[in-house]
Symmetry: C2
């Protein structure tokens, strides 16, 4: 603690204390750091306030204390800047990562407390890097399309620079010109050039990798007041010499055809949709958001005239709100595309994003409830601003919304529909994906959806086949099963035509297309509904899927209705898999379990699914119930004579146990045009303590397809008590004000808009 | 609330209130119930105290309020006493169950509050039963060896009587002689005769079923002051005409050879070991404990001269403490034998047991912490006593202990060793089973163990293959896979010889034998160890397994050492399976995954395990690591040239998905005498939010068997940092004061006692 926050109960004790301070440590008397340059983290005024008041602002103070504990431990252990050698998860990788994280935190502690030891730690570490860096060639591992120097890939080197530039910023004003000269000529400028000019395939993409590179180069440019680096960061390299054939390790394009922009502003304009959705999905958006917000905050501090937070109508704020809405009830991101499950808004990136967007993006008090849950703040002006507002009791609840997030830079490339409906004690939540491919990290799962009951997965998205930073698992990198299974269409809850992945699994074709939104309506209390189409994933096949949540007093929890309308002029085999969790309680199919088991196929992910049982025909009302986490779930589907039914389990052809051996079931039908219609109910519960089961049986008796025409699909859901619901979905006209009239079973139905729900 | 607990802030308001009371309801003025007979639930004094003070005792008051809410709802819904038809989980079964539970609760509410509606409800319901009962033949389902009338099995009918007798007790004094006469002649006496004289195979066993029958008959006898019934309950039927060949549905004997006693006192003497262990295991002990404690409490109230709680040195108290110690960190019972997982000390039976043993068994303040967690108490003298003591701040923590619970009525039939060792932030807990068979609900798993890390299963005991009260699953009854899989030896973490279940799976032979304790020592801070032998499970094979937890600063969490010494004069195939959870992170065997999969065998449970991968030889130091719930686990085993290694998964030959498809691995060795030695480490962790992994690698480099002689087994565990540990286990002499000297690798080792741990 600095003197400023010492409180004295009397003049005498106050003077004694001052005397004591003077005795113990001569330099404590004026150790508060002052800014001599325009910091990227603080203004002169914000720093002064923090230095004076931080001990009175609990969340900030606790974050300081935690940081002091961690950094002091590292200071005690001493500096280690090893020669780069390992992949992710290995010692040198993890050490350099720990170094940049610690250095940045130590820097902030120095600015706030003025404690010399923190400055010394940062300075010593930077000098060690200034000694090491000039000796380095690219990293010995040749795995990456853009090999780094400290790390196996430039991406991590860029991470280093984003953090190290903040550390440098914090001690900048205390260094002599010679000291600065040394660090800048031996380390920072060559490092920035290495990441940009020397590695254009890394720096000049429209991609999260390049965002990190732009941010690192731009931030060190701002600290050093190097206009050339800042310009390079904002606008990219002018002549990158890249061609449009090149690919990165994930099969993503280095340079898209027609791409004529690069740099940070281009990332802001092109990587997000107008709704702030990021094509790769929330897991990568979480990762990507940090360089966006931290570079933007740096620019706002050092180049306020750019008004970066107002750029593109506040796109960075929109991106952060999109992220916060892309979470389940536990704050975990929906694992669409390459996403490791469990990542959440508790991550350090979201702490930064929430603090910075609160501070620079309009002080929305709902963000404070997220910051309160995160229970830590950034040790800078934005974090202080959040902690102060929480202390002042400004917090309001953040309630995630049902919403559609459009995809594509101009919002025209499909989107993601999030339906959330509350029930007493929880919520049902469907995440319906009709986006574009999502570049190299995209999965081939047009019109798939995942279902959550009160934060628990009911129908899962597998996510990524990867163990980030677990060295034993291929150095923490993408496992080959990610490509052969997790990305494939069959790995998702959506339609597979002729046992082939969307677009034949060709990324170049996939990148050119997207699904299309048809309609989305979350405005009604009794139904939330989204409908989307796709005509490119399979040639000659038009798919329209409609996902609805219906609230009715007949059901304790919202009922999900899932209608997949398929049109094709030739006969195809359609597979519609569902990945559930838990244990089968009852199934009305006459299935046969297989004692000699084989994989379900040979390619497109089928080789990874072991078939466990099969039914060659279905009952009129196909029904399957299972129990997961002491709750019952029932799926009821309209049948077709030609249907087969398969029970399977992930895990065939998995020589390194890289896949989770989770269960699935699948409907198979040979047809031209057809409709798959099903309901999914969450019902009742079971207590292993009282051993009571409640409402263990499905309430839906039957689902029937009433109509499939060029213009409409109609299905009926019958409750076992006799009530029924008809849902009519338009296929041609999605205008909200269009009137429709059709006849079903001699009954005339009239309505306005793209769908109609009739209760009988 | 009665007048007695109305508080008035001034005389005036008090008088107004009295006036109001008088106006509104003339009968409230003296509605407090009085006892006219010796109740089985209250003494005159305890009831008076409760009536006066219950509103000031929070836990009792809240339990009352919850009960009032539940019972009032049932009163509003009305009485339904349907004709018996269904199995467990079905309507009539669940309805009769709800009836007896509600009736008992309503009765207690009546006695405490004096509210007429509760008396009326109980009386009306009993009259409805008095009308129905005489019309009933045995239940239409013929599944049970002792068919009930209201339920498919007498067991549930006995449950009914245990609860209904309490309900009757509560309104007894308010009924006219004619009313009592009606209920007793039409319902209670014939009901008691039906459960006893008419169904001796149910009443006269030494078994939990019979305990319920004894309690029901005895309790209604106490209420009606019918000495004959009480005597029948305490001492059984004199001439039951049973033979020793008869079996129940679970294959348990109806009458053991030489059994010459029956009734409640015999159950107390024969069902528990001297340590209070119940042969069937804690799941059934939980179920069985209720009739024990509630009948005992009834006897203590109505026949205090019996001093039932002092019987056999307080065996009922011992049984309850044994139960409380047979739980993991979440209070869930170890699922040994036929046990449904998730059952815990939060069950209503344990609420009763804890309250009654607190009240009648010495007021141990540690029980109050369990009652506090349970957060509800019985609405009688014992519950009040607990709630009052909690209010008075008498609570002390109950800390479950490492302990050995001997099995067998005289404690000579093996036992269960519970080892618990704390580490910073949690505990490692091994449950080692060397008991007798456990009668009809026993599993064939001599010398098996299960391992817990901070309450989470690391190596699981499968438990039962049954979904209690879930109608779709065979009416909630035992599934056939319970017999074909869950009971078999291969389903457990223990040795299988020649792919055959212990005792060839013959229950009659199994019932005659037991494993033997060899030594148990939990007195040292750095090692807790249990060793047991078995010579009957497999003819000609002597097994001695030793399970130890070792604490050392080299390991963050206690290290488990598992040594299975096998002696045989002829060559056998030994299978040693381990049932883990989670995902394999690394394995150093050169295994081959199987794409066409088959079950591991054809019988003794092997037909239910699907083989996934196989290694035909092992590395010198066999090592397997997996991750579960973001924590790493590593198993390291000493090899033998002849070892094979199998990865498998439960779920073959499971046509109704009755089994959990959980993973396992297994060591297979062909040998005569041999030693299986392995360690299991819990290490490090992983955060899906920070994506940091910590200590993802095993610390044990190698495990080696140094010696197997007639007298000793010695193994060495080598830490990767160079340190090593030697554990020498005696095989012949288990005396604590015996001195030993041996030579290993030219080094002389001397110690006293049955084992020796040497650190090098």
């Amino acid at each position: 603690m600095t003197k400023k926050i010492s409180y004295c109960s009397s003049l005498f004790s106050c003077l004694s204390l001052l005397f004591l301070f003077a005795l113990i440590s001569c330099d404590t008397a004026d150790k508060t750091a002052k800014l001599g340059h325009q910091s990227i983290l603080f203004t002169e005024a914000s720093l002064g306030t923090i230095q004076e008041q931080y001990a009175q602002v609990p969340l900030f103070y606790e974050s300081m204390q935690q940081t002091i504990t961690d950094v002091d431990e590292q200071i005690t252990l001493g500096i280690d800047v090893p020669e780069p050698k390992d992949l992710a998860g290995g010692y040198t990788h993890e050490r350099h990562k720990l170094n940049y994280l610690t250095m940045q935190r130590a820097g902030k502690l120095y600015v706030i407390t003025g404690e010399e030891k923190y400055k010394t730690y940062v300075h010593d570490m930077l000098r060690a890097y200034a000694e090491l860096f000039p000796t380095l060639d690219r990293h010995p591992s040749k795995k990456s399309y853009s090999r780094g120097k400290l790390f196996w890939q430039c991406l991590n080197d860029a991470n280093w620079l984003v953090y190290a530039s903040q550390a440098y910023d914090c001690i900048y004003d205390q260094l002599s010109d010679e000291e600065k000269e040394l660090l800048e000529t031996k380390l920072f400028r060559p490092y920035a050039d290495f990441l940009s000019i020397e590695t254009p395939q890394f720096f000049n993409r429209i991609h999260n990798h390049s965002t990190w590179a732009n941010a690192g180069v731009g931030m060190i440019g701002l600290v050093m007041n190097d206009e050339e680096l800042v310009k390079r960061a904002l606008y990219g390299l002018e002549d990158d010499g890249l061609n449009t054939e090149a690919k990165d390790n994930d099969g993503g394009s280095i340079k898209e055809e027609g791409q004529d922009r690069a740099g940070f502003l281009a990332q802001m304009d092109l990587l997000f949709s107008p709704d702030g959705f990021y094509a790769e999905g929330p897991y990568y958006q979480r990762y990507a958001i940090y360089p966006f917000v931290v570079f933007a905050a740096s620019l706002e501090n050092a180049r306020p005239e750019l008004k970066i937070f107002e750029h593109r109508e506040g796109i960075l704020s929109k991106a952060v709100y999109a992220l916060l809405n892309l979470t389940d009830s536990d704050g975990e991101f929906y694992p669409i595309n390459d996403a490791q499950k469990g990542m959440s808004y508790y991550s350090r990136e979201l702490v930064s994003a929430v603090d910075i967007i609160y501070h620079f993006g309009g002080q929305n008090p709902e963000l404070l409830s997220i910051a309160g849950k995160q229970n830590r703040v950034l040790l800078d002006a934005s974090g202080f601003s959040v902690a102060q507002a929480i202390k002042d009791g400004k917090t309001k609840d953040f309630v995630p919304q049902s919403m559609e997030l459009r995809d594509g830079a101009d919002g025209s490339e499909g989107g993601l529909g999030i339906l959330r409906m509350n029930y007493a004690g929880g919520d049902i939540n469907a995440v319906f994906k009709y986006t574009a491919q999502g570049m190299g990290h995209g999965h081939y799962d047009k019109l798939s959806y995942a279902l959550y009951d009160n934060g628990a997965e009911v129908l899962q998205d597998y996510g990524v086949a990867r163990f980030v930073n677990i060295e034993q698992k291929y150095g923490g990198g993408y496992l080959k099963e990610n490509k052969t299974y997790a990305k494939q269409t069959i790995a998702h809850n959506t339609l597979v035509v002729n046992q082939t992945t969307n677009y034949g699994g060709n990324i170049d074709i996939a990148n050119k297309h997207h699904a299309d939104r048809f309609f989305f309506d979350a405005s009604q209390p009794d139904i939330q509904i989204a409908s989307a189409t796709d005509t490119h994933a399979y040639e000659g096949v038009r798919m329209q899927r409609t996902i609805a949540l219906i609230a009715d007093s007949l059901w304790e929890r919202p009922l999900l209705v899932d209608v997949m309308d398929v049109e094709s002029e030739k006969e195809n085999t359609y597979d519609l898999p569902y990945y559930y969790f838990g244990q089968i309680i009852s199934a009305n199919m006459e299935y046969e379990t297989l004692e000699a088991r084989k994989p379900l196929g040979e390619k497109y992910g089928y080789q990874h699914i072991m078939e466990e049982a099969r039914a060659s025909s279905l009952m009129e009302d196909a029904k399957l119930s299972w129990m997961n986490d002491y709750r019952f779930y029932s799926w009821t589907a309209a049948d077709s004579d030609a249907d087969e039914f398969v029970f399977g389990r992930i895990g065939a052809n998995d020589p390194n146990f890289n896949l989770r051996h989770d269960p699935m079931f699948m409907l198979r039908r040979k047809a031209k045009s057809t409709v798959f219609a099903a309901t999914l109910e969450s019902h009742g519960d079971y207590s292993p303590v009282s051993e009571f089961s409640r409402d263990a049986f499905a309430m839906v008796d039957a689902v029937e397809v009433l109509m499939q025409s060029d213009e409409y699909t109609a299905v009926e859901v019958r409750h076992h008590g006799g009530a029924s619901f008809r849902l009519v979905i338009c296929k041609k006209d999605n205008k909200a004000d269009q009137a429709h009239t059709i006849e079903i079973e001699s009954e005339k139905l009239s309505w306005t808009g793209p769908y109609f729900l009739q209760r009988k």
